[in-house]
Symmetry: C2
Subunit: 188 residues, 2 copies
Amino acid sequence: MTDFPFTFDLLFPQGLPSRVDNHIQRRLSALRGQFLDQHAYQAMLDVEDCLLYEVYEIRRPELPGEMLMGISVVHPGKVGREFFMTKGHYHAVLDTCEVYTCLKGEGVMVMETPEGETAVEKLSPGKVLYVPPRWAHRSVCTGRAEDLVTFFVYPAHSGHDYGTIEQRGFRKRVLDGPKGVEIVDNDG
Amino acid sequence: MTDFPFTFDLLFPQGLPSRVDNHIQRRLSALRGQFLDQHAYQAMLDVEDCLLYEVYEIRRPELPGEMLMGISVVHPGKVGREFFMTKGHYHAVLDTCEVYTCLKGEGVMVMETPEGETAVEKLSPGKVLYVPPRWAHRSVCTGRAEDLVTFFVYPAHSGHDYGTIEQRGFRKRVLDGPKGVEIVDNDG
């Protein structure tokens, strides 16, 4: 970990970073209980524990004046009618924001507050999304064949709370419907 | 100011944002005393107080969990042999960082710490620069005809200290030399 300035490249056409300190791969088994169609989930898992998304992290000290950066890659695919998505999380320090810049692909960010407010924003290349403090967030790839690639930046002291979403899920789901992408209530 | 998530577009080919809360224009007269060649400076100013750079800011509450974003556009040009540049600054809260993503053009970031460490990093499209806490920073456009356009993000409680650089200048200057871009000591 250097305290000198440093650079890295967002390498197109893939959008992957030229420098990576940590590479996370999340497979189907990591999202048990999160998809609506449990039968389709188990049938897929019986065939292969396929890769849903990857995160390439740049490490920095986890202090308030630092920021953490990385690239998120959500692969295309569905479990039943539901698009591949990240686990999603609140920040452990709830009053911290996050900025996403979409580099490639098509998708949405599903967001909600502890008080039950919800928001869904579309992502496409060149779009910047500000997720204010207090908003849990989950990336969803709605492309048919292309990865959703985003560059994220957030305060380094934010931390992660995955447990709340693992227990309750998000209030909205993103499905592939006859007329395209459908945002529906999560009644489960 | 909304606390709901929001998006904006980085509109290419210019790289300008589709949403702007504040537009700053800095002209030659705002950098009095900063350029090496004072004669060339005065001669240019006598003709026109030309535009050196512009900043498009997105506003957020200036709290530690928030981040401020914007687009910086440094125009091409020189004062004598010295390329157009921003005023440059420390953050008032010294222990705060900044992330720059270059969207367009060619340039360098000139950086230094209060202890006298210096760093100069090249910027070109797709390059991400991490300016760690404690590093003053100045953008310099080294392109002949094209703007240097960067997208910046920094902790919202950082504040700005312009005075230190206004008084002392940076320890390095960026000049147009016979073999291209020259980084030289500021002996002034």
